[in-house]
Amino acid sequence: MDNENAEHGELVGQILDVIAKEGMVDRARVTLDATLEDLGLKSMDVVIILSGIEEKFSVYIPIDGPLAEAKDVREFVGHVVEQIVRKEA
């Protein structure tokens, strides 16, 4: 997943921007090592972030599935990148 994130640096940055904007968190705090809990993101915020991602990248990501197990921003972003890449492939 780290490889994937590194390979898609620009995309990762855009996703972090969406997390910061839709989750209403200071962008500087949205690092790959942060957990959703660290950022104070609750279930509602995740729904809103996923809506923002759908709008920006036209990809529908359910809240269930791999995303439910994401322990930190790195894993969360990794799953989102995977979905976007798969869609574009």
């Binding site: 359910p62 809240i63 269930d64 439910a68 197990e69």
Partner: protein, 407 residues
């Protein structure tokens, strides 16, 4: 003073399995799913295309044109199910039921399809809404129509607690009868929110499965929306006995709690506290339950949280309790869900058969310890059974039924 005992003397259902309690029970027992391609009154760009809707439903078979003008589908379903329950209780012709009877109806949204259609009329067609929009939409509409139809002049009201609505409505009926405020209560839940806009809104919440509801399975990926109504006649045991009515089961316990945490993510501690409260209310030890109809929505969050709560409450005793979710059969009927599932729970108790969890594939390790009765019903004597409902908003409800005439 000894507490009043409360029994169930009638049940009725409208669900994706058809009209009637028997159709619902048989489908749940035999693992026949009512899920199909979603039918919406208008085309929308929905990505999810499945739901559990009432098959071949024609309201004109049940209501005349004048009454229909005042009835949203959620009120229609409630009336049909209440009529069936009252007929089974031997009260179909007992009108007026009077001031010692209550009607308590759970519903999440009330008249959704009316609201949806009338919004469209205002915003798109630039017309005034139809004159009976408000009385169709209001959440108490279903309860009020049952009251009017059967001459119920006691307490009549709606309970709106999302997926815990029906559980709380039944529980409140139990409490009102125990308190002596009434002798009888017509209780349950009704929901008809599969409209174009509400369906899309559920999709936006990202909790709907694109293919099927597989509670407790490792690869589960969400819930399937359902609709319908489940209604019961509850009576003080001495009142039922006095008129020679045969009880179907005793409604022995009710617990309700709130998580007071996350709006959407369930908390095992709240669910566990709720089940413990229901057991205490029924005066039962955890080991005395033989069957639990789980909330089991098929979402990752609910099922693992519910499994954790069950382990907390039942410990090592969980292995000998059958725990199934019947939602793959009737869908998640939201405000009606707790009522459809209580009905199935009572049928399991009466028939000594526990219904299966349909579409069970590999059990999720997070749901370890649960005997989910995979895919096929099982003969099993049931002395006492519980039905769980856990709602968005962190509201939990659990109901316990026991044999009406324990041997």
């Amino acid at each position: 003073m000894q507490r009043r005992r409360v029994v169930v003397t009638g049940m009725g259902a409208v669900a994706a399995t058809g009209i009637g309690a028997r159709a619902l029970w048989e489908a749940a027992r035999d693992g026949r799913s009512g899920v199909g391609r979603v039918r919406l009154q208008r085309e929308v760009n929905n990505r999810v295309t499945i739901a559990a809707q009432i098959p071949d439903y024609d309201p004109t078979q049940y209501f005349d044109r004048a009454l229909l003008a005042a009835l949203d589908p959620f009120a229609q379903y409630a009336l049909i199910a209440a009529d069936e329950a009252l007929a089974e209780a031997g009260l179909a012709e007992a009108r007026p039921l009077g001031a010692r009877t209550a009607v308590i109806l759970g519903t999440g949204l009330g008249g959704s399809s009316t609201l949806d259609e009338q919004h469209r009329r205002v915003y798109i067609d630039q017309k005034r809404p139809e004159p009976l929009t408000i009385p169709r939409v209001m959440a108490n509409s279903g309860a009020s129509h049952i009251s009017t139809r059967h001459g119920v002049t006691g307490p009549v009201f709606a309970v709106a607690s999302a997926c815990a609505s029906a559980g709380q409505a039944v529980g409140l009926g139990l409490m009102l009868i125990r308190s002596g405020a009434v002798d009888r209560a017509i209780v349950g839940g009704s929901e008809a929110m599969i409209t174009a806009s509400v369906f899309s809104a559920w999709e936006g919440l990202r909790v709907l499965s694109p293919d099927r509801c597989r509670p407790f399975s490792r690869k589960r990926n969400g819930m399937v929306l359902g609709e319908g109504a489940g209604m019961f006649v509850l009576e003080a045991a001495e009142c039922a006995a006095a008129r020679g009515a045969e009880p179907l089961a005793e409604l022995a316990g009710y617990g309700t709690t709130a998580d007071a945490r996350d709006l959407l993510r369930p908390d095992p501690a709240g669910a566990a506290a709720c089940m413990r409260a229901a057991l205490a209310d029924a005066g039962l030890e955890p080991g005395e339950l033989d069957y639990i109809n789980a909330h089991g929505t098929g979402t990752v969050a609910n099922d693992s949280s519910e499994a954790e709560a069950l382990r907390q409450v039942f410990g090592n005793g969980l292995a000998r309790i059958a725990v199934s979710s019947t939602k793959p059969v009737h869908g998640h009927a939201l405000g009606a869900g707790g009522a459809l599932e209580l009905l199935i729970t009572i049928m399991a108790l009466r028939n000594g058969v526990v219904p299966p969890t349909l579409y069970c594939e590999e059990l999720d390790p997070a749901c370890d310890g649960l005997d989910v009765v995979p895919n096929t019903a099982r003969a099993k004597p049931v002395r006492a059974a519980m039905s769980n409902s856990f709602a968005f908003g962190g509201i939990n409800a659990a109901l316990i039924v026991t044999q009406a005439n324990p041997h």
